[in-house]
Amino acid sequence: MIQNADRRMQIYGALLLLPAAVLLATFAYLPTVATLVNSLFLPGFRGEPATFVGLENYQLLIEDDTFWQVARNNLLYALGTIPTSIALALGMALLVNARLPGRGFVRMAYFTPTILPMIAAANIWMFFYAPQIGLFNALLGWLGLPGVNWLGDPGVALGSVIVMTVWKEAGFFMIFYLAALQSIPPELEEASNLEGTSRWSFFWRVTFPLLMPTTLFVLINALINAVRVVDHLFILTKGGPNNATNLLLYYVYENAFSFFDRTYAATITVVILLVLAVVATVKFTVLDRRTHYQ
């Protein structure tokens, strides 16, 4: 009798899991496996079927200078966008959480870039960056400084793309911090005021630790975005000049759809997946120990 009820509970549980399991399998696990299998083939030459070549694509990848340059770009891009946009998001959240005149307006202003589609934002920024007619060089001109070819100089282009991304993302992350800040019980602040704690140490000892779950969440999201969002490259630089702003996913796109080399694109995708899985695991195991969930 007890066994029977237990069994029924198990079936009940399994059924509850089923929809999610089906969706995940269809849209995440099956494509992953297919990608992995694809990466072991070479595309057919002139209509012939694809040929199995084992790890040859991975060998090519290791020897591909462009891949390494693109991977390096992506690392710099991640290092440039993630800490900056998180710090900025936290700062903005603290600011608009405090009492200040026109708070609603400031919040909206900070959030506006998030509402814009990436493509639209990139189109606007392209005209900010345009060397002769753009906003930034006009501002520099008023200060008497020479203009910069923001997207056309390989030394500057990646930085320009990073700045635009930070502008786009910080407002989004701010929303999470703002929500987290508002869920911190006000008693904590009252208590610390009674104790005479400075605002600085209150932030580091109380607020920041309590925000850790949010920080972890935002960190993972920012990392995913650093690899996942390349829409702006289509508008701003197309990966140029000379691959100076090419990122991994854009390189995957180029291989799959410009070069019709699906199997090589699959190979790069597998490598990206591996790296992301490792990084995410490390993040969860290391940071989770330091994170205090309430």
Partner: protein
Amino acid sequence: MRFLKPNVPMRFSLVAAGLLSAGQALAQTGDEPVELTMYYPVAVGGALTDVVDDLVEDFEAEHPDIDVEAIYAGNYDDTRVRAMSAIEAGDAPQLSVMFSIDLFDLIEQDAIVAFDDLVETEEEQAWLDSFYPGLMENGQLDGQTYGIPFQRSTIVLYWNKDAFEVAGLDPEQPPETWEEMAEMGAAVREASGGEQWGVMVPSTGYPYWMFQAFAFQNGHRLMSEDGTEVYFDDPAAVEALEYWVSLADEHAAMPDGTIEWGTLRQNFLEQSTAMIWHSTGNLTAVRNDADFDFGVAMLPMKTQRGSPTGGGNFYLFKDTTEEEQQAAMTFIRWMTSPERAAAWSIETGYMGVSPEAYETEALQRYVEEFPPAAVARDQLEHGTAELATYQGGRVRRALDNAVQAALTGQMTPEEALTQAQREADAALRRYAR
């Protein structure tokens, strides 16, 4: 950005090309209208989607038995992706306007059919032979025609007559040679006290295309006709790239670094440069927005004049019924008929694709009142096919990178082109015949 066609024709056009009645009769087999899907790109400015929508509406009004769903799919690359994904998903469009240089890739993917296979009557054959031969180069392979010219262009030089006058140059005299262009550019730069650049040649978007013009003006063609070999590291090509780089380095007529294709028209309209090289497909947009006097000229020459052709062709796809293919043919013939081609050319600046288009009253009158409209056509006799090879994406990317590396000072022109040659050779190694 999907533009669905309403099923009910809203405007009735009275222009009916008589030669179409044959195709119309062929297509009228069932009661249900034949439904066609077409992807098309827009690579230049202006509201070209409206122009295409209007043309399709007119067509549907004349041919109630054919429904055309024209879908704007982005630039040339986006359109290729959309069409290829649709084919892989088993939902192939019947026809599309795609990059003329996609030919080799489409053939390799076994996606398209030759028009020669569908042409039956003499009248149809006459239509197939009615286009400028220069525009057919990119659409033919091994004696078969796979691409029908539609939104085709060459590169032309736009110059600002007011700026020329201020710089003490003859405003009616565009540069004829490379030396003149460099000198005139430097003169403008100097006369403006550094406020205005002399010339801008775009080096993002389609750098290989611009480079092809320089190389061809220096008497050099960058690829073999069968699309299996390229000649990037030839001394004539190196010299061409050296000249391009020198416009910024030596003559200070052009800004350093790469120059953005997408904002270049705006640069010209805001007079931050006195000359630009750009697709003739921009002509009408420039004409509408320029508040200064400008002219359009053929590109300057080194040993000869020259510009690659560019732009999009109509393709017919496999895996469609014979009825659909005939209907698609009817549509393509209608779109490329002299009257349509003339209207399209006037609305956009793209070329009329056949000599007959320039003989229509509308286009003759237009050319008379606005002579720049004929420059692209006149330049066609100095035209060369756009860079098209097997593995086109990789080969073009190799050349694009080389051009950008040289212009940004990362490599010398010779180093850059040698590397591009090596990369292109690797990509093409399986194709040598």
